[in-house]
């Protein structure tokens, strides 16, 4: 079974703080993704990475950055958190190299910015 884990289930931060969300997968997947999930808006892609140190912007990258120093780890960084970044954040991974295009998701981190 693919395991995708996220560092926190719940997080409360103050406006202006720098926030790190960590995601780790244990199946040697090439691709990793960060989404935010909001009611009525579905999943919106923030960033994805198809290899170590490689990243591509998704639909809503503003206010976010990412880091992928190791294949199994993909971090989402909020440089200066704002209240409109309060959301559920989902990490996912997939392995196109193995013909597995479907994504495997982590449990999510519910971030509240006050």
């Amino acid at each position: 079974d693919v395991k995708v884990t996220q560092s926190s289930r719940y997080l409360v931060k103050r406006t202006g703080e720098k926030v790190f969300l960590e995601c780790v997968q244990d199946m040697d997947h090439e691709n990793m993704f960060w989404y935010r999930q909001d009611p009525g808006l579905g999943l919106r892609l923030i960033y994805f990475s198809y290899d170590v140190k490689m990243k591509e912007k998704g639909d809503i990258p503003e206010g976010y950055s990412v880091s992928r120093e190791k294949k199994e780890r993909f971090s989402l960084i909020l440089e200066s958190a704002s209240t409109n970044q309060t959301s559920m954040y989902l990490c996912a991974s997939s392995s196109p190299g193995q013909g597995k295009y479907e994504q495997y998701f982590g449990p999510g981190t519910r971030l509240t910015v006050t």
Binding site: G40, L41, G42, L43, A92, S94, Y101, Q103, G108
Partner: protein, 110 residues
């Protein structure tokens, strides 16, 4: 632009009734379609993918390229089917970009 449309945000059906969750897409290339499900307090998980042509938990979905649709169907809904359902699309043979619909919340009334 690539897009996945789920026209129903909320859908309620009675237990034992047929259920159909609609999904339409627009895509310029060759897509691969998926349905994902999220049960209460659980992570998002794959329900089925169109190329597998399989039935999972009684659900099926047929890709209709002419109508650009990928509707999810089940002949007899069960209470445990209550969940949020997302239709998703990626480009075949790459998987590098995924597009999700806005989701349909299904409630099965006992």
């Amino acid at each position: 632009a690539q897009r996945v449309t789920q026209p129903e945000k909320l859908l309620s059906v009675f237990k034992g009734a047929p259920v159909e969750l609609k999904c339409n897409y627009s895509y310029s290339g060759s897509p691969e379609l998926f349905w994902y499900v999220q049960y209460s307090r659980q992570r998002l998980q794959l329900l089925l993918r169109h190329i597998s042509r399989e039935s999972i938990k009684g659900f099926t979905a047929d890709l209709n390229k002419g109508e650009t649709s990928f509707h999810l169907k089940k002949p007899f809904a069960q209470e445990e089917d209550s969940a949020m359902y997302y239709c998703a699309l990626t480009r075949a043979n790459t998987g590098n970009q995924f597009y999700f619909g806005t989701g349909t919340s299904l409630t099965v009334i006992p």
